[in-house]
C-alpha cells in the first residue's frame, strides 16, 4: 500500500513550511516514527516523523522548497517492508505491471492496479503541483495582478491553504493602511523624494544581490509590518540603577553554578517584570480591536526575544509568575540554546503575554521595540554602563558619583494604555531592578 504523507498543520495559523533538510532519501527503508525531514514553519523548526514503515518511494519537494500545508511530502510504499516478498508472490501480475511502467515518472502503483476511467483523484492532482508555488485559482491570480499583490506574501485561508479572493483584498487593504500610516510620519519623504529614491534604486539594482526572505526572516517581516500597521505604538525610555541587581547576582552566582545554571541579569529583570505585571495586569492583557475587548490573561507567560543566526525568535516561558529566579534562569538558558540550534517547537513559542527584548550584551542605549500582536507591551533592556549621576545628600550636599545604569525602553499599545499608566509600570520595573531585595518581601 502506498502511504502519502502530507505536511500536517503543525500549529495554529501555519499555512506552509520550508523543508530545511531531508533526513531520508528516495529508495531508503524507514521505520515508523523515524524522522523524515526537518521543516521550518514561520515559527520554528519541527521534525516530521514517518507515519508508516516502508520504502521511501518519492520525495515531493527539495530542501529549500516552501510547501503548503496539506501537500504531499513523501510517498512511502508500506508493502516494501517485511511482507514484500509474500505480497509479490501473491500478485505476480501486479509486479509485472510495475515492471512495465517502471520508467514512468508519475505512475504510482496504486494507479497501475486500477487503471479505471477517471482514476486520478483531485487530491493526487493537487499534490503533483510544484511545491513552493502559492496556491490560488486563476481568477484570484488575476485579482492579485490587478492589485499588484505578490501572492507569495499572502497567507491563504482557503482549502489546502489556497489563497482566496478575500485574502488578496485583505492583504491589499492592510498594505494601503500601512502606507497611509507611514505617510503621516514626519520622517517620511515627499513623493518626489520617494521617486528619486526609487530611481536610484532601479539604477543600482544591477549592482545588488537579491536574497529571498524565507522562514523566520520572512515571518518576522510580516509580523513586524502587521505590528506597526495595527498597533498604536508609543515608547517610554528610562534608566535604572543596576548596582543592586549586579550585587545580588554576584552573591548568587556561585550557588547557581553549583546547580548547573548560568546566571545572567535577564532572570532578575524577568522577575522584576513579573512583579510589575502582577501590579499592572493591563500590561499582561491582549486586545481585540474588532470586539473592542481587553482580555486579561490569568497566566504571565514571558516571551524572550533571542537573537539567532537565522533571525529573531521569541520562545516563551510559561507561567513565569510562579517561577523562582533560578528556575527562570534555567529555562532562559535552555530556550536560548534551543533557539540557536533551531530546535524550538511551536508549543515553546506560543502563548506569550508579554515580551522582553534583551539586547544589552550587544550594546545600545535605547530602542523602540515593536509589540507582538495581540500583546500590548514589550520591554527593551539595554546594556549596563557607567555614568556620572547626581547623588542627592541633604546633609553633605549633592555629589556626582559614578553609577552603573541600565537603559530600559517600554513600547505600549496607546489604544488601551496611556502614558501615565506606562510610567507607573516602568517605575515599578525600575524599583525591582534597583532594589531586588523587595522581590523577597512580596515573594510567595
Amino acid at each position: 500500500m502506498l502511504v502519502e504523507f502530507k505536511l500536517p498543520d503543525v500549529g495554529e495559523g501555519i499555512t506552509e513550511g520550508e523543508i530545511v533538510r531531508w533526513c531520508v532519501s528516495e529508495g531508503e527503508m524507514v521505520e515508523e516514527d523515524q524522522v523524515l525531514a526537518e521543516v521550518q514553519t514561520d515559527k520554528a523548526v519541527v521534525e516530521l516523523p514517518s507515519p508508516a514503515a516502508g520504502k521511501v518511494k518519492r520525495l515531493w519537494a527539495e530542501a529549500g522548497d516552501v510547501v503548503p500545508v496539506g501537500a504531499v511530502l513523501v510517498t512511502i510504499d508500506s508493502e516494501q517492508s517485511a511482507t514484500k516478498q509474500l505480497e509479490t508472490e501473491q500478485h505476480p501480475q501486479m509486479d509485472r505491471n510495475t515492471e512495465i511502467h517502471k520508467g514512468e515518472h508519475n505512475a504510482s502503483s496504486a494507479e497501475l492496479i486500477a487503471p479505471a476511467p477517471g482514476r486520478e483523484t483531485e487530491q493526487q492532482t493537487a499534490h503533483k503541483l510544484r511545491s513552493g508555488v502559492p496556491l490560488a485559482v486563476p481568477s484570484v491570480r488575476r485579482l492579485a495582478r490587478e492589485l499588484k499583490v505578490d501572492l507569495r506574501e499572502v497567507a491563504g485561508t482557503g482549502k489546502q491553504g489556497r489563497i482566496t479572493e478575500e485574502d488578496v483584498r485583505r492583504y491589499a487593504q492592510a498594505r494601503e493602511q500601512l502606507a497611509a500610516e507611514q505617510e503621516l510620519a514626519p520622517s517620511q519623504m515627499h513623493k518626489s523624494g520617494q521617486q528619486l529614491v526609487q530611481a536610484i534604486q532601479t539604477a543600482e539594482e544591477a549592482d545588488q544581490e537579491r536574497v529571498q526572505l524565507k522562514g523566520i526572516r520572512r515571518a518576522m517581516a510580516r509580523n513586524m509590518k502587521l505590528s506597526l500597521a495595527t498597533i498604536a505604538h508609543c515608547t517610554g525610555f528610562d534608566e535604572a540603577d543596576a548596582t543592586g541587581m549586579i550585587r545580588m547576582r554576584e552573591s548568587m552566582q556561585a550557588s547557581a553554578t553549583e546547580e548547573g545554571v548560568r546566571l545572567t541579569y535577564l532572570p532578575f529583570i524577568t522577575k522584576a517584570v513579573v512583579y510589575a505585571l502582577k501590579k499592572h495586569p493591563l500590561f499582561n492583557a491582549t486586545f481585540n480591536e474588532e470586539r473592542d475587548e481587553i482580555l486579561f490573561n490569568r497566566e504571565i507567560n514571558i516571551g524572550i526575544a533571542v537573537d539567532t543566526p537565522q533571525g529573531l525568535v521569541v520562545p516563551v516561558i510559561p507561567q513565569a509568575g510562579q517561577k523562582s529566579i533560578l528556575e527562570l534562569a534555567r529555562e532562559i538558558q535552555g530556550l536560548s540554546e534551543k533557539a540557536r540550534e533551531q530546535k524550538l517547537t511551536l508549543r515553546e513559542m506560543q502563548g506569550g503575554t508579554f515580551t522582553i527584548s534583551n539586547i544589552g550584551s550587544i550594546g545600545g542605549m535605547w530602542a523602540t521595540p515593536l509589540i507582538q500582536p495581540p500583546q500590548v507591551a514589550i520591554l527593551g533592556v539595554h546594556k549596563i554602563y557607567k555614568k556620572p549621576v547626581v547623588k542627592e545628600d541633604p546633609l553633605e550636599g549633592d555629589q556626582v558619583v559614578i553609577r552603573r545604569v541600565i537603559g530600559v525602553s517600554l513600547s505600549f499599545d496607546h489604544r488601551i494604555i496611556d502614558g501615565a499608566q506606562s510610567a507607573r509600570f516602568m517605575q515599578d520595573v525600575i524599583k525591582y531592578i534597583e532594589s531586588p531585595h523587595l522581590l523577597l518581601l512580596e515573594a510567595r
Binding site: P117, G118, V137, P138, S139, R142
Partner: protein
C-alpha cells in the same frame, strides 16, 4: 405553425432541399422505398423518384465514396448512414478523401456533401448503434460537425449544411427524434453553422453541451435555480466545427466556471478540446478548473447499465457542486 418532431423536421428539410435544388440527391441504405430506418426519408422517393432518392447496397464505404464522386462533379449529395457507429468502414473515404479535397486542390474543388448519421444513447440499442464518435471527426481537418438538439434547429441547420460547400457530418441525436415536438415554420430557413445557442442565461457557471444532454441539463438548471438558487448558463454548441468560441468565452469569463457535458467517452473527447481552449483564452477568469461529465472510457455498454454509463442527473449535479465549491 406546425408542431413537428425532430424526425419530421428533418424529413421536411430534405423534401424542401430536393424540391428547391435539382443538384440535391438523397441516398443510403433503405432510404427509398422503406423511408429510412427512422423514417427520416419517408415518402421522399415517392415524391422525387428513384433517381433522386436512391437505395444503396449495404456498404458504407461505397455510400461515402459515391457521395464524394457526385459532389466533386457538381451534385449535392445527402448520404444517410444508419448509425454513426457504422461510419468506421467509411472512415477512409471521409478522412483520407472527402476532408482533404479542398486542401489538396489548393481550394480549386469544394466538396458539398452531407453525411447524416443518428447517434447517441438512451434508446436501448445493440452494440455500435449508440456510439458518440463526434471527436473522431472534429479531429479530422476539413470536416464540419453539426449536431442539432431541437426540431427547429434540425431543419435550419440541415438546410444550411446542404448549402455548405464543404463536407458536413450531420449527427442526429436519435433519442430526440421523437422525444420533442416544436413549432417549426413551414417555409425553408437556414441557421448559420458556428453559432451556439444560449439555451438559458445564468451567472454561476456555464454548462457547455450538445445533442441529447442539452435537454437534461436545461431541466436540471431549472431545478437548481428553483430549489437552490444556483444560476447556470446553458449553451448548446449546435456545431462543434466550426466552433462558436466567442459565445463560449464570453459566457465563461462571465461565470468563471465551466462544465462540459457530453455522451462520448471522456479521454480525447471534444470536452477536452473545450477545456483546453478555455484555458488558453480565459484562464485568468476561472474560479475552478473546467470539469467534464461524460461517458466512461469503455465501449458503449449493454442496455441494462446504459443509464448509469451516460451522464445522468446525479453526476451532473455532483459536478456542478464540485465546481461551485472548489
Amino acid at each position: 405553425m406546425a408542431q413537428l418532431t425532430m424526425i419530421q423536421a428533418i424529413n421536411q428539410a430534405l423534401a424542401q432541399a430536393l424540391d428547391q435544388d435539382p443538384a440535391v440527391i438523397v441516398f443510403g441504405e433503405d432510404v427509398g422505398k422503406n423511408g429510412g430506418v427512422f423514417r427520416a426519408t419517408d415518402q421522399l422517393q415517392a415524391r422525387f423518384g428513384e433517381q433522386r432518392v436512391v437505395d444503396t447496397p449495404l456498404s458504407e464505404s461505397a455510400i461515402i465514396g459515391s457521395a464524394i464522386g457526385l459532389a466533386v462533379n457538381g451534385m449535392k449529395p445527402v448520404a444517410e448512414i444508419q448509425f454513426m457507429g457504422f461510419l468506421y468502414p467509411a472512415m477512409d473515404q471521409l478522412a483520407s478523401q472527402a476532408s482533404r479535397l479542398r486542401f489538396r486542390s489548393a481550394g480549386r474543388y469544394a466538396l458539398p456533401l452531407v453525411v447524416r448519421a443518428p447517434f447517441g444513447g438512451g434508446v436501448r440499442t445493440p452494440e455500435l448503434h449508440a456510439d458518440s464518435l463526434e471527436a473522431l471527426f472534429t479531429h479530422t481537418p476539413g470536416l464540419k460537425v453539426v449536431i442539432p438538439s431541437s426540431a427547429y434547429d434540425a431543419k435550419g441547420l440541415l438546410l444550411q449544411a446542404i448549402d455548405d460547400p464543404d463536407p458536413v457530418l450531420f449527427a442526429e441525436p436519435m433519442k430526440l427524434y421523437r422525444a420533442i415536438k416544436e413549432e417549426v415554420p413551414e417555409a425553408p430557413y437556414r441557421i448559420p453553422l458556428g453559432q451556439a445557442r444560449v439555451v438559458r442565461e445564468g451567472r454561476d457557471a456555464t454548462v457547455l453541451t450538445w445533442g441529447a444532454p442539452v435537454w437534461l441539463v436545461h431541466k436540471l438548471a431549472g431545478q437548481l435555480q428553483q430549489e437552490r438558487g444556483i444560476s447556470l448558463e446553458v449553451i448548446d454548441l449546435r456545431s462543434l466545427i466550426p466552433l462558436d468560441e466567442e459565445t463560449i468565452m464570453h459566457s465563461v469569463s462571465k461565470t468563471g466556471r465551466a462544465l462540459v457535458v457530453h455522451e462520448a467517452v471522456k479521454t480525447g473527447g471534444f470536452g477536452a478540446e473545450l477545456a483546453s481552449r478555455i484555458m488558453e483564452k480565459v484562464f485568468l477568469y476561472l474560479h475552478a478548473p473546467v470539469m467534464r461529465v461524460t461517458g466512461y472510457d469503455t465501449p458503449y455498454p449493454v442496455p441494462q447499465v446504459e443509464d448509469e454509463w451516460l451522464p445522468h442527473e446525479e453526476r451532473i449535479l455532483q459536478a456542478v457542486h464540485e465546481l461551485l465549491d472548489y
